[in-house]
Amino acid sequence: MSNTVENVMEMEEDTQKGRFLTFSLDRESFGIEIKYVTEIIGIQTITEIPELPEYVKGIINLRGKIIPVMDVRLRFKKQSREYNDRTCVIVVDINDISIGLIVDSVSEVLAIPEQDIVEPPKMNKGLSNRYIKMIAKVGNDVKLLLDCEKLLTGDELEDLGKVL
């Protein structure tokens, strides 16, 4: 019986494999592995928490569950922008941490074949692409595939936590 469960799980994994939710910030298009995504909601009332890094906007009430939200623009050190009705919160679950990612807008779910995905080029500027795991070609477009785990860890928030 447990075997069948595993099979189902595997199948689920399989159907999720190579599928990405794409969203845009400015002119760039990003992709997130679909397995991390739990839901997409419109922008909510955000309760601010003092003294957090600028990109952690605060917390929201997601049907009784309190989750933090992160402005991905600010995370990537881009100019902030007023939220509007196209602004979306992508709720992701990364290593059991639920967090909402605020993005300009969500585009679509894409299946990207493995051969179209390549490693990002090494940059001379050091850490500039540390959140990008892979780069995908879709038609004439390029999608930057995010390293979700890096989004949460190995960043200032954690470094600060260690110092304190």
Binding site: P50, E51, I59, G64, I66, P68, G161
Partner: protein
């Protein structure tokens, strides 16, 4: 591990932990009375038996063998009732076993491998049992008779009726059981027993299958060999034997005549003995047993208690909290404003009442008596006294007092620390006590009682008390004094012992020392929103009172507004709120703001500044002051306005936020009636921030 399955693992941990606690209690009380009663021996035997079985199922071989060894020991005690048992050593051995299992359980709980090795302990237990056996065998010969396994054993199975046909068939059967089926000899006994209805005579190798475990090895190796005479045909016998459980292989062959089978011809000369029906139900004792049974019906009533995973209760509590919020969202819905609706109000009132009742009920489910936590202290006292050569009586009162399950977990460690500290530093050695005219053995009173929405836990000893001067000296040396000494009350001075980096004893003893000061006590207690207070009289003793809230999950809160943000302050820390007159506000040359109230001066904390919130209201006369107290520190919080009082369900801030380590001043958050989030202000944290320096 065999069962990574969570509920099963949870159950195993839960049950074993419970049994171990029971065991410990039984041992400690036996030790106190310096004898193991028959009832205690039975109980310990049964507990070890259960632990043995369960841990074996979990493939925890060391725990299982250890439990087996102790079980054997108590089996001997139970059956032989030996005299002159060294109670002390016995208790030590079993307690050592208790500790071993505790450590292993802790590892399992934390998801680590239970890799402790118990063999040396098992050897000690076995050695103890061997000595016991040796000194208690008064020449009674042990059962050393070797059974010749090659000798044929005959079971003449007589049936009620005579054989239906005179034709008798002779069979030879060899049965192999599945590997690892255990107790092969009893499996063989089962086979012979099952043949009763069908066979006239049964002979088997090995001969002795009832109480010779060696026969198990032979059966494993060579199979169980049977010679059977029956009037039934091959098919029927085959079918019957095939129904043997855990059968691996059956060889059944028919012989032409009795003479083909040596055993049968040999046996022909022997008498037929009936298989004794040992253990058939005694008809005589029925009446009595039925009576016992009827009596036991009510005994089993208190078994209708079920154990529930705390996580489930936490989730239930969470849901209830949301229900409270949802109720407020409906009843206080802005759409309803200004409507005349008597029936709605009536129904809403009813709903409010039921929701309140459910909330109380769920709270009460989570309440656990302190008894288990308190009883653990007996062991601490025992071990400490032994090592330090002191005598201490532990007196427990109010152990039935109930506290929220989540809080109880935070009490155990501080309590242990206080008790250890009391025995180590408080209680004097017997000679010193005698010289001081005190009773020979020291006394520690552990008491719990309710006080409003708090529970007081008091640890009181009749030891030498705290030395005010020595504490002050020590505090001076370590630069722990924040106030002029003359301004400090005794209580404040005594409280210094709870500061980190304070330890009056130069020699760190094995117990209360450990390089950890009493500051862990305050830390733990403050974590659950409690406080600690010390009273002491030189030469008479010390009394330490821990004040802890009944529950963590729901508090009465005052909601306040600052700019667009809302905050909740626990009512319990609010002393009053007020609007000061302009000239009551003072600013010192450093820019620190203070407010005068009834001749006293209190520091002011502007919440909008502290939490960096934009607000229109920055003038003191336009907003409101809320005077709060924590740990004898008073602080006036300046906010825009009060929104009202409400019971709120505390939710933790998301782990991601907490991991920033920047949430000082915030105790969590809660959901308000309109679905928005209010941040719960941590008064102790804020009061700490307002400290000078």
């Amino acid at each position: 591990m065999k069962y990574s399955n969570e509920p099963m693992l949870d159950m195993f941990i839960f049950e074993t932990t419970q049994l171990i606690e029971q065991l410990e209690t039984a041992i400690l009380s036996s030790e106190k009375s310096n004898c193991y009663t028959q009832a205690a021996i039975n109980e310990i035997f049964r507990i070890m038996h259960t632990i043995k079985g369960c841990s074996a199922m979990m493939l925890l071989d060391d725990i299982s063998s250890l439990a087996h060894a102790i079980e054997d020991l108590f089996y001997f005690l139970r059956e032989e009732k030996p005299q002159n048992v060294d109670c002390c050593t016995l208790s030590d051995l079993v307690l050592e076993g208790v500790d071993f299992v505790k450590v292993e359980m802790e590892k399992i709980k934390n998801g680590d491998a239970a890799d402790g090795k118990a063999y040396s302990l098992i050897d000690n237990i076995k050695a103890f049992l061997a000595v016991l056996k040796h000194s208690n065998t008064s020449g009674a010969p042990a059962d050393t008779k070797e059974h010749n396994s090659e000798k044929w054993h005959k079971n003449c199975v007589s049936r009620e009726a005579a054989p239906p046909s005179a034709a008798i068939n002779f069979f030879k059967a060899v049965i192999f059981f599945e590997e690892g089926c255990e107790m092969e000899n009893i499996r063989a006994f089962e086979v012979v027993h099952n043949l009763k209805g069908i066979a006239d005579e049964v002979y088997h190798i090995p001969e002795n299958i009832t109480d010779n475990s060696k026969s198990s090895e032979i059966i494993q190796r060579e199979g169980f060999k049977l010679y059977i005479t029956t009037h039934y045909p091959y098919e029927q016998l085959y079918e019957l034997l095939m129904r043997t459980v855990l059968l691996k292989k059956l060889e059944l062959t028919e012989a032409e005549s009795r003479d083909d089978i040596p055993a049968l011809s040999q046996a022909a000369h022997e008498m037929c003995a009936r298989v004794s029906e040992d253990g058939s139900p005694g008809k005589g004792g029925n009446g009595q047993r039925e009576a016992d049974y009827a009596e036991a019906q009510h005994v089993s009533i208190h078994n209708s208690i079920i154990s529930v995973n705390v996580n489930k209760l936490d989730r239930l509590m969470d849901r209830i909290g949301e229900m409270v919020i949802a109720e407020a969202m409906v009843v206080q819905n802005p759409d309803l404003k200004g409507m005349q609706m008597d029936n709605f109000q009536k129904a809403a009132w009813q709903l409010n009442k039921i929701v309140g009742e459910i909330q109380d009920m769920v709270m009460s489910i989570r309440m656990v008596p302190l008894a288990d936590t308190f009883n653990k202290m007996h062991r601490i006292v025992r071990d400490m006294c032994r090592k330090l050569d002191k005598e201490v009586e532990l007196e427990i009162t109010g152990e039935e007092t109930e506290v929220d399950k989540n809080i109880i977990e935070h009490i155990s460690d501080p309590l242990m620390h206080l008790i250890r500290n009391s025995i180590d530093h408080g209680i004097e050695p017997p000679e010193e006590r005698k010289a001081a005219g005190k009773p020979h053995s020291g006394r520690i009173a552990l008491e719990a009682r309710n006080a409003g929405s708090d529970v007081l836990i008091i640890v009181k000893d009749d030891g030498r008390g705290l030395n005010r001067e020595r504490i002050l000296t020590k505090a001076r040396e370590n630069d722990l004094l924040l106030k002029p000494e003359d301004d400090m009350s005794d209580r404040e001075i005594f409280s210094l012992i709870f500061l980190a980096g304070f330890s009056t004893k130069d020699g760190v003893s094995e117990y209360s020392g450990r390089g950890v000061g009493l500051d862990v006590v305050t830390k733990n207690i403050e974590k659950v929103g409690g406080s600690v207070q010390v009273d002491s009289v030189m030469g008479r003793g010390t009394s330490i009172t821990m004040k802890i809230p009944l529950t963590l999950a729901i508090i009465d809160g005052m909601n306040i507004q600052v700019g667009s943000a809302r905050y909740t302050i626990p009512i319990i820390s609010i002393m009053q709120s007020f609007r000061p007159a302009e000239n009551d506000i003072i600013t010192d040359p450093d820019g620190n703001e203070m407010v005068m109230l009834r001749g006293c001066c209190y520091p002011v904390l502007r919440l909008h500044e502290h939490f960096n919130v934009r607000t229109e209201i920055t003038e003191f006369t336009k907003g409101i002051f809320i005077m709060v107290e924590s740990e004898h520190k008073v602080l006036c919080i300046f906010a825009d306005e009060l929104l009202g009082q409400q019971q709120v369900v505390i939710k933790a801030l998301p782990a991601y936020i907490r991991s920033s380590g920047k949430t000082r001043g915030l105790a969590g958050c809660t959901l308000l009636g309109d679905g928005s989030i209010s941040l719960i202000v941590d008064i102790a944290g804020l009061a700490g921030l307002s400290e000078p320096g």
